[in-house]
């Protein structure tokens, strides 16, 4: 059995997961597993209308039921809250009106969940239905106002950026093309539904165990929502069953659990049902997009104009950031002479959208890559060749003022081209079969925090006990991506000790230094760098202690495995012994490190979205077969290359690539968070909302390329999100290659293929 860590540090062989054993034996506790003494069960009553005025609420029957401990109506929170400082527009429970089907408006606590549910059926709420608002932009026509607290009309935010003279670039271009696309929204569908246990203790302290990716932001937002000082709130995250962006802000159930706990004086657990998760959402925004580009005679990309219109749902959530992200990363892959972006986000009466893996960059990347493919087709060029000529080079600055460090993009192109046999096989696969290419790039953490502050984005603390154990404490959350293991690996490598000595404590605002959270692929780079600083400081103390003990200068202290030794002398001492010397000299051994990214280069409004200490790069080639009779699309093979800098945990890197790629495959083939005309979700369950199963996944060939990045810990960049992005356009391009149809929306369902084939045939006949 290879579950133990090897004892020699020279062989820090990496177990895939330090907590792997607990997850395979059922011992790992998730938020819905943590049983607190005397715990009560909470339940949220949700709106049965997409848009309605709440006329009256009668709670008496529910309150008097035996076993019912508390029944609360909104707003619950004492001040509105929200993840973006400029958009504090949420309350725990709706009052006045409800703005999406499934919006919570009442909270109930009872001895058992069954009783809480029965009480939910006993409450009487009268509604006056209002017209649902399901479209964006000018299609809304005289639509009623969704957010009465937010300006006039339903436009949440419009943003504009321009770098260089785009009008001139397009006017003077040798070749121009325009394309439009609708990217359908979709859900994260982490397998673990959200859950929280909250206890408002009699001493005034509020403690939560919640399935969140961002304990720090939950603590901050809760303090605002409840009017409590931050230090009175402690947020802990038990084992987390997946996030993908869906657990990245404070949610109504978290506030409600706290309020119910205060009312009944007991810990209260609220676990969302799968259906609730579709209403809680914060998933991928549906986006309507338009791109226009102009190329010169040498096929250089002179100018690009990109427009996006996001369907935000009923609340702001991360919306402003999402909107900017739909225009932020187009230039990280291609050199563009002049670039213009216009983005809009609209309020509609649907569950709020937010960040999902690839946050805001996935949708525009789909259109951009489909567009580039069509440009190549129009120009009679190989789509990979067209890109090769205009790749944004390593160590350069993009047109929108982003600093690129290492880039393995060219190697990504080479790798997928080679693996797929692109040159030899393209155009020769036979009827109905095709190959499609796309590439992309993603952040290794956002350069700026969500709320402005000059503090470190990540802090890590190392303590060495008298037992020789290394305790790492850091606010990160392991959402299943293996963040705790990466910290253990970095600690072991940087301190030169066996992995088995390292214990990681994370995701607890009460005991760990702040890390902003597991979003924007920031953890490995930012927490990793913070940890390396703490480790350097710790080693320094140990070296000083050894030098003092042996009466030699510190530079003469050397390492031999875990042991300390003196250069050229026969002195040596074990790790634990030296740690004790150091504790005798300096007191208990604790060091800390923090990491703050360099300030971004851009100074324009909106320049806060897009900068990152390092960018990852990806490419994908899809091989597909389309059945022209029934419209069925089969993805037969995917070839994927990714540049994650130094892969710190190669098996996890592979796992992240595969997981991201398959999530992308689901988005392009089947997933849709879609709504009926009355505003109801079309299928808020796993039969109505399908995700890929084992049978839907083709063979995926992977190449990991790239160089160590100077800004990454031991050279590491991100891998959690980037590899998803190129898959969607690669499949779309492969369909065009296979049967010559241009698709204009996701997901690519058989009926859409048939319709496009039909249109193509009619065009053919007309000629």
């Amino acid at each position: 059995m290879k579950l133990e860590a090897p004892s020699s540090p020279s062989a820090v062989a990496v177990p895939n997961r330090i907590e792997g054993w607990a997850k395979v034996t059922g011992q790992a506790l998730y938020a819905d597993d943590v049983a607190w003494p005397n715990m009560a069960y909470g339940y949220l009553v949700r709106s049965p209308h997409a848009h309605a005025r709440i006329v009256s609420v009668d709670l008496e029957a529910a309150r008097s039921m035996p076993g019912v401990l508390a029944v609360l109506a909104g707003p619950g929170s004492t001040a509105p809250y929200g993840i973006m400082p400029s958009n504090q527009d949420e309350h725990a429970l709706a009052t006045g009106k409800v703005t999406y089907f499934g919006e919570p408006l009442l909270a109930i606590a009872a001895e058992t969940l069954r009783t809480a549910r029965a009480a939910a059926r006993a409450v009487r709420v009268a509604y006056e239905p209002l017209a649902p608002v399901l479209k964006t932009g000018s299609q809304q026509k005289a639509a009623p106002q969704v957010r009465e607290d937010a300006g006039d009309g339903n436009l949440h935010k419009a943003v504009d950026l321009e770098f260089g003279d785009v009008a001139a670039g397009l006017r003077e271009a040798q070749f121009t093309r325009t394309d439009e696309f609708f990217f359908q929204g979709n859900n994260h569908l982490a397998l673990e539904p959200h859950a929280v246990t909250a206890f408002w203790q009699p001493d005034g302290q509020l403690v939560l165990e919640s399935s969140t990716q961002v304990p720090h932001y939950v603590q901050r937002s809760l303090a605002r929502a409840l009017g409590l000082p931050e230090h009175q709130i402690r947020v802990m995250v038990p084992t987390l069953g997946g996030g993908f962006g869906g657990k990245s802000e404070l949610f109504p159930h978290e506030v409600a659990a706290a309020l119910l706990s205060r009312s009944c004086g007991r810990p209260v657990r609220i676990t969302l049902s799968r259906e609730d998760v579709f209403y809680t959402h914060r998933g991928r925004h549906p986006v309507e997009m338009k791109v226009a580009t102009g190329f010169d005679r040498q096929h250089r990309l002179q100018a690009m104009s990109f427009e996006s219109r996001l369907d935000g749902g009923a609340y702001s959530s991360y919306g402003i950031a999402s909107t900017y992200y739909t225009g932020a990363l187009q230039p990280t892959t291609y050199q563009i002479g002049a670039y213009r972006f216009h983005g809009e986000r609209w309020f509609t009466t649907k569950p709020p959208c937010g960040p999902k893996r690839g946050h805001g960059t996935t949708q525009p990347r789909a259109l951009l890559e489909v567009h580039m493919d069509r440009v190549a087709r129009d120009l009679g060029l190989d789509p990979i060749e067209l890109r090769r000529e205009i790749l944004q080079p390593p160590f350069s600055v993009t047109v929108n003022q982003l600093d690129i460090t290492t880039s393995g993009l060219a190697e990504c192109l080479d790798a997928v081209e080679r693996m797929s046999g692109w040159k030899e096989r393209r155009g020769r696969l036979g009827k109905g079969r095709g190959l499609g290419f796309a590439c992309s790039s993603y952040l290794s953490g956002a350069g700026l925090p969500i709320y402005w502050n000059p503090l470190p984005h990540s802090g890590a603390r190392i303590a060495i006990g008298r037992d020789g154990g290394v305790q790492v404490a850091c606010g990160i959350t392991d959402i299943g991506q293996g963040a705790n293991t990466v910290l253990a690996i970095l600690a072991a490598r940087s301190l030169g000790v066996a992995l088995g000595r390292v214990r990681v404590t994370s995701a607890d605002t009460g005991t760990t230094p702040v890390d902003l959270g597991s979003y924007s692929s920031r953890v490995t780079l930012m927490a990793g760098n913070a940890l390396l600083t703490a480790a350097e400081r710790m080693l320094d103390l140990l070296r000083q202690a050894a030098a003092r003990h042996w009466q030699v200068p510190a530079q003469e202290i050397a390492r031999d495995g875990e042991d300390f030794a003196v250069l050229g002398r026969d002195e040596r001492a074990a790790w634990t012994e030296v740690a004790r010397w150091a504790e005798a000299d300096f007191g208990p051994l604790v060091t800390a490190g923090g990491y703050t990214p360099a300030p971004p280069r851009g100074r324009h409004k909106g320049s806060g979205v897009g900068p990152s200490p390092a960018y990852s790069f990806s490419a994908c080639i899809a091989e597909v077969e389309v059945d022209e009779l029934d419209g069925r699309l089969q993805v037969q093979r995917l070839y994927v290359a990714h540049d994650p800098g130094t892969p710190l945990n190669p098996q996890s890197v592979e796992g992240q690539i595969r997981g991201g790629v398959v999530m992308g495959l689901g988005e392009v083939l089947m997933e849709a968070q879609a709504f009926n005309p009355d505003g109801r979700h079309r299928g808020p369950h796993l039969l109505g909302y399908r995700i890929p199963t084992m049978l839907d996944v083709p063979e995926i060939e992977i190449a990991v390329v790239g160089q160590p990045d100077p800004n990454g810990p031991l050279g590491a960049k991100e891998v959690g999100q980037g590899p998803l992005n190129p898959v969607i356009p690669a499949v779309l391009n492969a369909v065009q290659d296979a049967v010559g149809i241009e698709l204009h929306e996701t997901p690519v369902t058989p009926d859409r293929i048939l319709r496009a084939l039909d249109a193509k045939r009619r065009r053919g006949n007309a000629r």
Binding site: G241, Q651, G655
Partner: protein, 173 residues
């Protein structure tokens, strides 16, 4: 709400339980026996995370009414290693079923929420089909959703375990 007393054998141990007529087997395992390893990913039979063995057969405990399984034998993820130990007398207690070990080694575990159900289905497959082919594995596990791994490393874990179990019992191969 009607309740009844029932007998249930779980991971080799006999229990007498007072169970509500509406309670699912999943609820009884998680809430009454505190065996939290079995997960609730959807509660309506669509994700596979709640899979346990009922008389040796993988079953979705979220859509199994507890009172319908009176007197029967249940194995959950917490009991898988114990079952494996009992299957192989003389080998001593086992901390892990070979598939559990293989899952960790193959990188088949990310967030781990699908893992208990996936492993219960995989272990049943390995018991009944000692050297399953890739297609057999995909077929047997296709009712089990995983959002993290993209599945390949899970398939690999089953193959890895099958290989090792084959080596260990050459007479059965």
């Amino acid at each position: 709400m009607a309740e009844s007393v029932m007998r249930l054998r779980v991971n080799g141990r006999e229990h007498h339980l007072v169970v509500s007529d509406e309670a699912t087997l999943l609820e009884v395992l998680r809430e009454q026996l505190h065996l939290h390893g079995t997960k609730d990913g959807c509660a309506v039979g669509s994700c596979g995370t709640c899979t346990v063995w009922l008389d040796g057969v993988p079953r979705l405990s979220c859509v199994t009414l507890a009172k319908t399984v009176e007197g029967r034998d249940v194995v959950t993820i917490e009991g898988l290693a114990g079952w494996w130990g009992r299957e192989r007398p003389g080998e001593g207690a086992a901390a892990f079923h070979p598939l559990q070990t293989a899952a960790v080694e193959a990188g088949a575990v990310q967030c781990g929420f699908c893992t208990p159900g996936m492993l219960m289905a995989g272990a049943a497959l390995l018991r009944d089909t000692p050297a399953p082919g890739r297609e057999e594995i995909r077929e047997a596990l296709s009712g089990h959703l995983c959002r993290c791994t993209g599945y390949e490393q899970i398939i690999h874990a089953v193959e890895l375990a099958a290989g090792r179990m084959g080596e260990a019992t050459p007479d059965e191969a």
